[in-house]
Symmetry: C2
Subunit: 243 residues, 2 copies
């Protein structure tokens, strides 16, 4: 009870679960593919397969958006594309800035998947003066001195951070101060932001580590029983605390 409010409990109007929101882009991608092949309608079963989920989950997800299907028939592809796009806010244009134009930043600038949704790379920003003016993906890199002006001039509310870890928090602070309220962070560091600002992170090495965990388990399936319990096989390193 003493714990105040950290997280606003979902808004009153539309309670779309977070897990559902995270899958909408998946459905949208699958639907876009069908649309390009001029498929008029699709069943929950087919669409679920194309999106890589199961059909019960898909139907449940769609039920949060409304009743957009037809029983006995399925879903109208074009109509669903529109509804999901609207729900995700992709019917409007989102200018984004990418800060940190190293290898990853350049890859992001070149990534086609942004433009094809409602995202437009409004500017590339880097702290290295030597980068200034150099075009990447056809867009000239601007120096980070310009950051605040760029954000303001373009009405940017989404920023992508692809800087080294050490630069991420200061960059984040400046973005937020300049008016950015959503941040996609590729730097391997935890960002602190004020309430009302959303941060999502993508950490490339974390994904690999999760794979390694499962991979290890597969490998150890033969000899699983052996080195299992806390009597760990300390091959090396500090074996403090016996527990």
């Amino acid at each position: 009870m003493a714990t105040g409010r950290t997280h606003r409990p979902a808004t009153r109007s539309r309670g779309i679960p977070e897990a559902t929101v995270a899958r909408l882009p998946l459905y949208l991608r699958a639907l876009t593919g069908l649309s390009e092949r001029s498929v008029p309608t699709v069943s929950s079963e087919e669409l679920a397969a194309a999106a890589g989920v199961n059909s019960a989950k898909l139907r449940k997800d769609f039920s949060y958006l409304g009743s957009y299907g037809t029983r006995g028939v399925g879903y109208d592809v074009e109509y669903l594309v529109y509804q999901i796009s609207r729900e995700l806010g992709l019917t409007q244009d989102w200018p984004v800035v990418i800060v940190g134009i190293g290898n990853l930043g350049a890859a992001l600038a070149n990534y086609g998947g942004f433009a094809s949704r409602g995202f437009r790379v409004a500017a590339l920003i880097d702290a290295d003066p030597a980068m200034a003016g150099k075009p990447v993906a056809g867009i000239p890199v601007q120096h980070s001195d310009e950051l605040e002006k760029i954000i303001a001039d373009n009405g940017v509310s989404i920023g992508v951070i692809a800087t080294p870890a050490g630069a991420a928090q200061p960059v984040c602070d400046r973005l937020v101060a300049a008016g950015v309220t959503s941040i996609l962070n590729f730097a391997p560091t935890v960002l602190t932001v004020p309430d009302g600002v959303d941060v999502r992170k993508v950490d490339l090495s974390i994904e690999l580590q999760i794979l390694a965990f499962h991979e290890q388990r597969k490998a150890g399936e033969h000899a699983a029983a052996a080195a299992d319990e806390r009597k760990g096989p300390d091959g090396e390193l500090p074996a403090v605390m016996p527990a």
Copy 2:
């Protein structure tokens, strides 16, 4: 431990929840930072802050690994680093191949976060013959004809796919046939794999779309009180999106 009354011994030793596994790399990163600054011990509160989670969750997570802390004191940093590394399988060397050396593949090849964990880029593979031999991040790119041989020679079990969407499934099939059992997929497509093969995906544009959803909702907060949805299912025209 926990020889209490619980009548379900089943989930004892190897039952680490997936959500916990996904956070272990986060803790590890925070701990590594502390270790570099020679901090000897850390409380759940401090470590949780550094990792960006709350302390109850962290303690619960650690309780699945075992009792590695000391009441009244906290956790020994070095010891925890070791235990988590071992749990994640990072005390061994994981050779990985990266397939598709475009902008993103090159960024991944250059990404320092891999090497610093147990990951070693064993080879870079691309289908473009013009790329063959060109060094990227100091590693010469090899042609995809060599894929099977490379996997076998290096004992690779983890593959990273950074190809265009269309090439991803064929590449995936070849990786799996050659013995790869874990795949990190950056291509915006759903991969189909046999049982026993793990796939994790990272889709850059999906993350942005999720941000857009929340961003849109923030923007509408002023006018939120207005029409509270539930508008007629066919009130809007499915005006198809621009390509």
